[in-house]
């Protein structure tokens, strides 16, 4: 099957056009809500990304318009995930994260599921565990335990691993806070040292 490469163009205010090197195989048109985009998985997927106001689809390009109050950096990663899913499977991503903005309780439940099914089985390979403490106004509070507590790479695990994973799955995530007492860690997986 052919691979399609999509190149984002320069951002012009609240709009950014993505050009593909092959046909998008979507129904061209201008869409402003998921309901309008019935039967057009690419449009549905893009519109399901929190912060996206509209999408225009052409044969080999689509233009995303964001809401004024949502910066591109909050949209970019979910957008990549959504577009990839839509074009590869010709279906919009599904699951609780893609039905719209979540309140804190729903977000907590979704994150707990991601922690149970993905994060903690993975960090366990380094003797670590990440505990979900709370979600308040979209900000997630966690505590790192075992091999993660005091680990020299804990911030990488948190920002690149956990936060990156959650941002692709949890719309409305505002940030992640680590309340771990890393100085009290007695068995970190990686320890800092001189060469």
């Amino acid at each position: 099957m052919p691979q399609v490469t999509i190149v984002p163009g320069p951002i012009q205010g609240t709009r950014c056009t993505f050009t593909a090197d092959g046909p998008l195989e979507s129904v061209p048109g201008s869409y402003r809500c998921v309901e309008d985009a019935a039967g057009v998985p690419l449009a549905q997927a893009v519109l399901a990304v929190p912060g996206v106001a509209a999408v225009e689809i052409a044969e080999r390009a689509f233009t995303v318009e964001r809401r004024d109050d949502v910066p591109w950096e909050r949209i970019e990663e979910p957008l990549r995930y959504a577009v990839t899913a839509a074009l590869e499977r010709q279906e919009a991503p599904t699951g609780p994260g893609w039905s719209g903005e979540l309140d804190d309780d729903a977000m907590y439940d979704l994150i707990a599921e991601v922690f149970d099914q993905e994060i903690n089985p993975s960090v366990a390979s380094h003797g670590g565990k990440v505990e979900l403490i709370d979600v308040q106004e979209g900000v997630v509070t966690v505590r790192m335990l075992g091999g993660c507590q005091g680990c020299g790479m804990a911030s990488v695990t948190l920002k690149q691993g956990i936060e990156g994973s959650l941002r692709r799955r949890v719309p409305g995530l505002q940030g992640i806070e680590d309340v771990t007492d890393h100085a009290a860690g007695t068995n970190p997986y990686f320890s800092a040292s001189k060469k």
């Binding site: 052919p2 490469t5 999509i6 320069p10 993505f18 970019e76 790479m153 100085a183 990686f190 001189k194």
Partner: protein
Amino acid sequence: MRRGRTRISAPPRSSPRAGERTLRSRLLLLLPTRTYRADAFVDAATRLDVNLTVASEYPSSLADQNPSGLLTLDFADPERAADQAAGFHRHYPIDAVFAVDDDTTIVAAHVARRIGLAYPGIQAVEEARDKARQRRRLAGAEVPIPAFREVLLDEVDAGRIEPPPCLPCVVKPVALSGSRGVIRADHRDGFRRAVQRSAAIIRAACGGRPAPGTALLVEEYIPGVEYAVEGLLIGGTLHVLTIFDKPDPLEGPFFEETIYLTPTGADDAVVRSVRCSVEEAARALGLTEGPIHAEVRVNERGAWLIELAARPIGGKCGRILRFGTDGNRSLEEILLAHALGRLAGPPVREAVSRGVMMLPTPGAGVFRGIEGRDRALAVEGIEDMVVTVPRGERVVPLPEAARYLGFLFARGRGPGEVEERLRRGWAQLRVVVEG
């Protein structure tokens, strides 16, 4: 219908037109798992709003969850690491690469050459990394450095070592950092002991299997006042970010770094001579871009370049460097901005005096903690104390020490006040090491 793989590439490399901005650039950050600075660099990348890929020598437990953000590279084999990075680059185009420590500078140079990114050349960073090669290059360029010779570990093992004609001298490994294995010898017997001990430290550092041709450096002891220089090379021009004073004398037999103060209290003539020494060394090594950290000694005969590394300051000492009128930009942010081509002009350090104390390890044993943290933090001007060794781990003092125990940070109205505050803070602390 399902289709093949979809790839969403990075924005075009061409500069955006006026009034436009492209989607975020991707920065490849080479971060060894033993680093002290993961937090600082990850925070800086977040503030700079880049797509960050952290590459380390061991896999992250969450690499599968974020394949664009977490990468494993073979740091021990820079050519192989470059192949791995080039493969990654085909899926997630990289716009800049940055290395945080000595070893990864060589990996970064190979990656940059393979992908076509801006970075100092491989030969330049290799010569900066190896203290013996650096000495040879600087001597050839007539940069004032201590007289030196190299002693192979094989010669040490065979007992074929003679002390230099003039003592005292300093024995040091060519590829360790943080004063590890650096020993002053004042007489013939002391020299033999120093060489044996430094050689044993090198062997321990490489798991008992030093590479063939591994050498020690034996160099003239240069008396004088030592300064550290933090600099940023931009287009071949050295921008001195700061000169640190080191108020505790570094006279041996071991060279334990303790207090660093900024800005320096040295007079203009000393500052000029230190700067000139570092400029000459960087030029001789062929370094034109990126961070440098150098040690320079000054005496009545002038400034002597002791070492220069093509990377920023180690440990957590970089925390005391803040930039901008309100000090809201970190050293790491400045360095990553430069790597990304986003630095508008030479950075200017804030107008505040700051200092850091690298907490000394009092003796060998099991580390049980540092008592008195609250009392130390109650000393005026003390801003933070960070312990970087887990409780229960075995520690040793220099010259064998391979890790910093912790760091104490202070600020004040001048370097003298900062030094006094650090010493008062340190006096409140008790390092507990059980033999």
